[in-house]
Symmetry: C2
Subunit: 172 residues, 2 copies
């Protein structure tokens, strides 16, 4: 029987799962968690429980295939289907407008929070992130897909913007 693709709207989370599955043969939810943590998780995060629920929904809709490990923990292992690849490609080429900067500290400043202390906490994070990103960048051997490194560049640009902004506020 044909899988029911009408039940499930695809969300960004869906495409993150499909995206990673398109890059490898198979993956368990835990594998996905690891992948997300060191990559897109840096600018688009969600709890790991989603990585158990989401592939299940995608499987119900026919975008991924599920199998069980034999023996041991019998973990669920997912792989992308042809329909999944198709959905991913369609989404990928569709242009997008805006973006959002979800920064709780900025919200606090907006509503009257004292800038200097907020800025100091914020800067610490931002500087650490920037260092982390620049360390990652040195690992670019040109082997991995281009998009991964491009988005790293975006992260670096924004981290710098962030540091510029919060530095001004930290100065009192």
């Amino acid at each position: 029987m044909a899988p029911d693709q009408s039940v499930t709207r695809l969300t960004p989370t869906s495409y993150i799962v499909l995206g990673f599955l398109s890059m490898r043969e198979e993956a368990t939810p835990y594998d996905l968690k690891q992948l997300v943590a060191v990559s897109v998780g840096n600018f688009w995060s969600f709890p790991h429980s989603q990585l158990y629920a989401e592939p299940e929904r995608l499987a119900a809709a026919g975008y991924v295939r599920e199998r069980r490990e034999q023996g041991g923990r019998r973990r669920r292992v997912y792989s992308i289907t042809q329909a999944g690849r198709k959905a991913l490609e369609t989404w990928r080429e569709e242009p997008e407008g805006g973006y959002e900067l979800r920064d709780p500290a900025l919200l606090k400043v907006f509503f009257g929070g004292d800038p200097a202390p907020l800025a100091r906490a914020r800067l610490e994070h931002a500087r650490a992130k920037l260092e982390e990103y620049e360390a990652l960048r040195t690992g670019d051997t040109g082997e991995e897909p281009r998009g991964i490194w491009l988005s790293l560049e975006a992260g670096i640009e924004h981290a710098k913007a962030d540091i510029r902004f919060w530095s001004k506020l930290a100065a009192d």
Copy 2:
């Protein structure tokens, strides 16, 4: 009877409502919608229906007070309570770590989307936003609260970073 503050965890949306209510005597959900649209909505958005549901929950928890307009449409009108102000202040002074950059176009690039066309669509938006922000900035007479203008500066810095990044990709 004492309001039940245990039922309701406060989310960023809650604080946005509390924040605006703290700046004026009263507001209807529609007023809030207008306020959000021209300010925080630029970096932290959500559908207007939340601005009907959220004050209700806050009222149940005692953070805001609800009254009904007499005559006409009998709209709901909200105002912040002392407990609400307290909650807002506590939140405001608590430092925050990171932030998120929720950019669907960047996700697409990460997962192999063709950069150039995505960049072109994206740049259009980013440039328009930057202009809008800079126009807004000229309206700073020093009357409104400081935080509003500070966060506008943040928006400008990030918009510029964004333009730098996507310009590189648009160049092919």
